[in-house]
Every structure is written in structure tokens, then in C-alpha cells.
């Protein structure tokens, strides 16, 4: 059973409510499912379909397009080593070789203890800090092979648990729109007139106190 939990259903409904069309919540809900279970299951796909009014095939179609969604279990730590140009120019190959050697696996696979999955990754928007990598989408900059070994020791020992949540959790902060301040989703059929501030001139008086 890996449908969403009651708490996550509540959260899912809150997220769906922000969009003019429920289907827009598919990617956020897939993240929610992955956070709950570590990877995406068929039951979660079906459940998300029910929540947004799409078929399982449609949700699956979206899911498989995006690399972060894993249809099979991955390690607690997903180690992504960037191999695009800036990192390649400064030694990402060497880093990958060391990672494969230290973890005893090839890129694309998971250690037997289920702790680490190693992947080749593409540019992580940190090119000036090459070579770089991410553990569960948290960056490490200008990493030497020896620093990589030390990082693996730290992760194994749980020393970084406070900083790096297990795979599935990306952001640890969620947006919450307070009910009293929410405008609510504006759907195409809801508001066919110009927004009020467009037609009324200045919105506040220049002298309005702070």
C-alpha cells in the first residue's frame, strides 16, 4: 500500500486548490508521493490520478518524463555527479571513478546496503564551483576525490542527517497560503474582465504611511 496518507491527502488538496486546473498539481503530488515512499509506486500513480481527475496512464506519462521521479527504489542518498562541460574541464571523470571505486558500484546502480545510488548528472547550475555534485539535490562544491571519500564516510555515519534528508524529500519548507490572504486560483472562466487595478488608476496614495 503506498497510496498517500491522510495527512498527505490533506496537503495534496491544499496544493490542488492553488491551481486553476487540478492537473497542474500532478508534479507537486508526485513529489509528495516520492517523499512519502522514497520512490513512485503504481498505487501512488493511481491515487494521484483520482485526486486530480486524470487517468493513471496520464499521470504515468507525466511521471516518466522527469528524471527525479524514480519508479524503483533508490538509495537513501542519491549521489549525482555533474559531468557537463565546466565540471568535465576540471576533473569530474576522476571524481566519478573515485565514487565508483569507493562505493563499489557502477554509476546507475545502488549499493547492496541500500544507502547509496550513484548517477551521472548534467549541469547543476554551479559551474563556477566545478567539479560539483549533489546528494539528494543538495550541492557540494569544488569536490576533490578525497573529499568525496570523506563525504561518503560522513553520510554513512549519519553525520549529515540534519542537513540532508533522505531521498524523496527535496525542500523541507512548504508554501502555505493563509486563508485570510489568499486570492485563490483564477481560472480562465472566472475572471474575463480586466483586473480592478488596471482600470482604476493609482492603487494607493503616495502619502499612505508605511
Amino acid at each position: 500500500m503506498s497510496r498517500l496518507t491522510d495527512a498527505n491527502i490533506k496537503l495534496a488538496k491544499e496544493i490542488i486548490g492553488r491551481y486553476p486546473r487540478a492537473r497542474s498539481a500532478i508534479i507537486p503530488l508526485l513529489h509528495l508521493a516520492q517523499e512519502q515512499h522514497g520512490h513512485i509506486t503504481n498505487a501512488a500513480i493511481a491515487h494521484i490520478g483520482e485526486l486530480v481527475g486524470a487517468t493513471s496512464a496520464e499521470v504515468l506519462g507525466t511521471c516518466t518524463f522527469y528524471e527525479m521521479f524514480k519508479m524503483e527504489p533508490v538509495g537513501k542518498y542519491l549521489v549525482n555527479i555533474c559531468g557537463t562541460m565546466s565540471c568535465a574541464l576540471l576533473g569530474s571523470d576522476e571524481l566519478m571513478h573515485r565514487a565508483e571505486h569507493t562505493l563499489g558500484i557502477k554509476a546507475g546502480s545502488t549499493t547492496a546496503d541500500g544507502l547509496f545510488t550513484l548517477e551521472h548528472a548534467e549541469c547543476q547550475a554551479a559551474c563556477t564551483e566545478a567539479p560539483c555534485l549533489q546528494v539528494n539535490y543538495r550541492h557540494r562544491y569544488r569536490v576533490t576525490p578525497d573529499q568525496l571519500d570523506a563525504l561518503i564516510v560522513d553520510l554513512r555515519a549519519g553525520n549529515l542527517d540534519g542537513e540532508i534528508p533522505p531521498h524523496g524529500t527535496v525542500a523541507r519548507v512548504r508554501q502555505h497560503i493563509p486563508a485570510g490572504r489568499a486570492v485563490g486560483a483564477v481560472a480562465p472562466e472566472d475572471a474575463t474582465d480586466p483586473p480592478v487595478w488596471l482600470s482604476t488608476g493609482p492603487s494607493i496614495n503616495a502619502k499612505t504611511p508605511k
Binding site: 497542474s24 565546466s86 574541464l89 549541469c123 547550475a125 563556477t128 508554501q175 485570510g180 480562465p188 496614495n205
Partner: protein
């Protein structure tokens, strides 16, 4: 402030290097707490919004038009003009913020989101007010955990303090900003793919023209897609005015730009530079920028505008960071990303790291990109591995021709006696991913053909294997 943050708060990502230059978007970057509402308010934060709300929307729109805020996402289209392209009388209109930064070499939007999220939020509000946009979706790349946390926290604080949501600052201006996040797909940065993704679909670009998002975008409604850095310029602009903005930079490229310089330089970093006047030589060799090539090596080539851009040689170092001049010289400024290669660089191998990227990121919608990208990657891989044949070089160009028919832009070279072929190129694909898989190969092969030949010659010199390869290619008649 960040009480909702569980676990350790990560320090600022490194990379930004300040200098004695005008600062528009990075003015708060040195503060350790630059991402908090307190710091933002203590440093003039939300006063651009306040200034904006005391004026009519059309008036604010005009200010942005006058300033010529060029889009920082790649195409360089002026934001004020784009906002004016929505069809008259069609509502609601939406704002989609492009925070999907993933073009190879590019590192600036993530810094802007992590270090000054309120500046981005304020920019979104100003755009929504000026262009009459009823709801804003802020799309952050999936793999940016820290940026998502910082922007989520900032939005929560901004809502609580009355800067976002209903009746902003007591006015009749009301808009929600919805934080949305991706899940790993480069092509989603293309604006129509971004919209598809936001609608819950596979992130495949839509065919355009005829319809651009400003006319038919999210849910079929007029939609403005703007880059994070573009919007981050607006608060400063509204506080200081268009005249102050255009006083920095040049007439065609006013203001500043964030530029990431990476690769074989002494001091790689992200710099906010004066637009239009700073030259590539300044950036690579200037002491206030990268300070030259590492280990005193020679510069061999550089990519001036992100992985998609044709390469430049030392011949082009004195060009300023200005779109039209760089276009005429055979490349583009793109997303403000310079990747520098020194004389130790294996050029075919370097080109492969980019071609592999674009081949891998093809969404598969158009055949020349889906098939062609894979072919380019495979052929180049075997050349780099020392298994290439003479025919492979022509084959690379032939596959390229099927993606971009006709001449392809490249730089001038005194050494090779080449004159520049200017931008743009023709293409058979829907978006620029296909051509981008070819661009590095075309540059490398045009400017450094001898390095490819060297790899192939090495191969055919080994007598034992030379015969079977010749036989195989004769029998197969090419791929």
C-alpha cells in the same frame, strides 16, 4: 525568521564575487541573512512595489518599456515590449516565472533565488501590477532544494506581512504567487515546455509561431514568461527610475548582467557586470574578474553564452558583452555563461560533454533532434574514444545539416583565414535543443579540425584493426 525550516540552515552557495561596480540585482548578496524579510526591509525592500502602487499600471509599464529591460533568459527580448503583446481585452492573464536554470555554464538565477528571494517576489508583483496579470506561478527547477526552501520561506513571510495576496499594502491590487517546482528536465526551461509542464504534462515544447505564450499560453490564456534575473531588476528600476537604469551600460544593452565564468580561469565566479561595455578580455583576464588563465596557460577557446552558443577564439576577446555585436561575430550571449578552455583542452572531448547533454535532454518530439542528437553523440563518442573513421567527420556535418540546413554561424579566425558567419541559423526542429547538440560539434570541427583528424589518424595507424574497419565501412556503406 526561518522558523519553519527544520534541520540545519545551509550557508550561502559560493560563487558570487563582488567588485567595485554598479550593483542592481546583487546589492544584498554579502549579507549572511540576505534572504530574510528583516534584511530585505532594512535595505529598501518592497519600496519599489510601494512606488509602483502609487502610479497607474500603464505608467509603470511605460517606465519598464523606457528602461529597455532585456530578457535575461536567453533570447534578450525587452520585457516591457513582451508585456504589451498580450491581446487586448483577453483576461485573465498569467505570469510564469522561469526559474528552471539548467543551460550548461549558467549559474545566476539560483543565486538570485537563494540569496535574495524577496527581490524576485517584489519583481513578480511589479510585473503583475503593470501588465494586469491575475496569478503568478513561480517555477523553480526541481533539483534546487535550497532555492525552493528559501523562496518558500520568503513567500510565507511575505504573505504574512501583507506583501502578497489580497489587497496588497492596503491597495486594490491582489495577486497570489504560487510556488511550483519541476522534476528534472532541461527542455522545460523553454517557455512553451514550461507551460506544458505547469499544466501537468510531459514538458514538450509547443510549435511557435503562430502562437506565442503572450497570446495563447497557460490554460490557453495570455501568459508572460519571464526569467528570474529579468524580474529581479524591477524593484531597483521602480525605486531609481528608467533614467538611472539606462545611465548604466549602453543604449542597446542598458543596466547590468549577471555572468558566470567557469572552466580554466584563475578565479571562476559569478559577476554582476555593466552591460554592453565589459569585454570578454576584461572578464577572462581582468584582475577584478577572473585574473587570467590558470597556471599561466594560453586561452584556446571559450563558449560565450551557455552551452548552446557557438564558440569563440582569442580573436574575439575584445568584443563587448553586447547581443548584436556578438551575434554578428557568429555567436550569442544567451544566458550569461562563459566557459573557458585553456591550451591543455582536448577539444573533441570537450565538445562531447555538451553534445551528450543536448542529446540526452531531447524531448523526442522532432525527429531531427531525437535521432540526430543521438547520432551526433554516438559518432563523436567513437571519435573521442579513438575509434573514428575519416567518413565520420563528414557524417557529423551531414547529420548537422539535417537539423540546421544551410550555413551555421561561426567565429572568424585569423589563424585559419576564416571570416565570421553571423547568427541566426535555419532549423528543422521545434526548439533549440536540436541545434544545440550540433553547435559545439560545428564549432569544434570548424575551428579545430586538426584535433579530430589526429584522433582518427592514430586509429588507422594500428595495422591489425585497420583492415576490419575499412572492410566494415565499405560493406556497411556508412551508418
Amino acid at each position: 525568521m526561518s522558523e519553519s525550516l527544520t534541520g540545519t540552515i545551509m550557508p550561502h552557495a559560493p560563487g558570487f564575487i563582488a567588485g567595485d561596480r554598479p550593483r542592481i540585482v546583487t546589492s544584498r548578496f554579502e549579507y549572511e541573512d540576505s534572504y530574510t524579510l528583516e534584511r530585505y526591509l532594512a535595505t529598501d525592500g518592497y519600496s519599489g512595489l510601494r512606488a509602483c502602487l502609487t502610479r497607474a499600471a500603464a505608467d509603470v509599464h511605460n517606465e519598464v518599456k523606457t528602461a529597455t529591460v532585456l530578457g535575461r533568459g536567453g533570447a534578450g527580448f525587452p520585457a516591457g515590449v513582451k508585456w504589451g503583446l498580450t491581446p487586448q481585452g483577453k483576461f485573465p492573464r498569467y505570469l510564469v516565472v522561469n526559474g528552471d536554470e539548467s543551460e550548461p555554464g549558467t549559474y545566476k538565477d539560483r543565486l538570485l533565488m537563494e540569496r535574495d528571494p524577496h527581490q524576485l517576489i517584489e519583481g513578480c508583483l511589479i510585473a503583475c501590477y503593470a501588465a494586469g496579470l491575475s496569478q503568478c506561478f513561480l517555477y523553480i527547477r526541481g533539483e534546487m532544494a535550497l532555492a525552493q526552501e528559501r523562496v518558500a520561506t520568503a513567500l510565507n513571510d511575505a504573505y504574512a506581512a501583507g506583501y502578497v495576496g489580497t489587497n496588497i499594502l492596503g491597495s486594490n491590487f491582489s495577486v497570489d504567487i504560487v510556488l511550483h517546482w519541476g522534476a528534472g528536465a532541461y527542455v522545460v526551461g523553454e517557455e512553451t515546455a514550461l507551460i506544458e509542464s505547469l499544466e501537468g504534462n510531459r514538458g514538450m515544447p509547443r510549435l511557435k509561431p503562430p502562437f506565442f505564450p503572450a497570446a495563447i499560453g497557460l490554460y490557453g490564456q495570455p501568459t508572460i514568461v519571464n526569467n528570474v534575473e529579468t524580474l529581479a531588476n524591477l524593484p531597483w528600476l521602480l525605486v531609481n527610475g528608467a533614467a538611472a537604469y539606462t545611465a548604466i551600460g549602453t543604449e542597446s544593452s542598458p543596466g547590468t548582467r549577471m555572468v558566470a565564468v567557469s572552466g580554466h580561469v584563475r578565479r571562476p565566479g559569478v559577476y554582476e557586470i555593466v552591460n554592453g561595455t565589459t569585454t570578454f578580455r576584461d572578464l577572462v583576464y581582468g584582475n577584478e574578474f577572473c585574473g587570467g588563465i590558470r597556471n599561466g596557460n594560453e586561452l584556446k577557446a571559450f563558449v560565450p553564452g551557455g552551452g548552446s552558443a557557438p564558440w569563440f577564439l582569442p580573436d574575439q576577446l575584445d568584443l563587448p558583452f553586447e547581443g548584436k555585436l556578438v551575434g554578428a561575430a557568429g555567436s550569442m550571449l544567451g544566458s550569461g555563461a562563459i566557459m573557458v578552455m585553456d591550451d591543455t583542452t582536448d577539444i573533441p572531448a570537450a565538445a562531447l560533454t555538451l553534445t551528450r547533454f543536448y542529446a540526452h535532454e531531447s524531448c523526442g518530439k522532432c525527429t531531427p533532434c531525437r535521432e540526430g542528437g543521438t547520432w551526433l553523440e554516438r559518432i563523436l563518442s567513437r571519435i573521442v574514444a579513438g575509434n573514428g573513421t575519416d567518413a565520420d567527420l563528414d557524417q557529423l556535418l551531414e547529420v548537422g545539416e539535417s537539423i540546421c540546413p544551410g550555413s551555421f554561424p561561426h567565429a572568424a579566425s585569423e589563424r585559419l583565414g576564416l571570416t565570421a558567419v553571423p547568427f541566426p541559423y535555419k532549423m528543422t526542429t521545434i526548439c533549440f535543443v536540436g541545434p544545440s547538440a550540433f553547435a559545439p560539434i560545428h564549432s569544434a570541427l570548424t575551428l579545430f579540425r586538426d584535433e579530430f583528424i589526429a584522433k582518427i589518424v592514430k586509429r588507422t595507424l594500428i595495422p591489425v584493426t585497420a583492415a576490419p574497419i575499412a572492410a566494415a565501412s565499405a560493406a556497411g556503406g556508412g551508418q
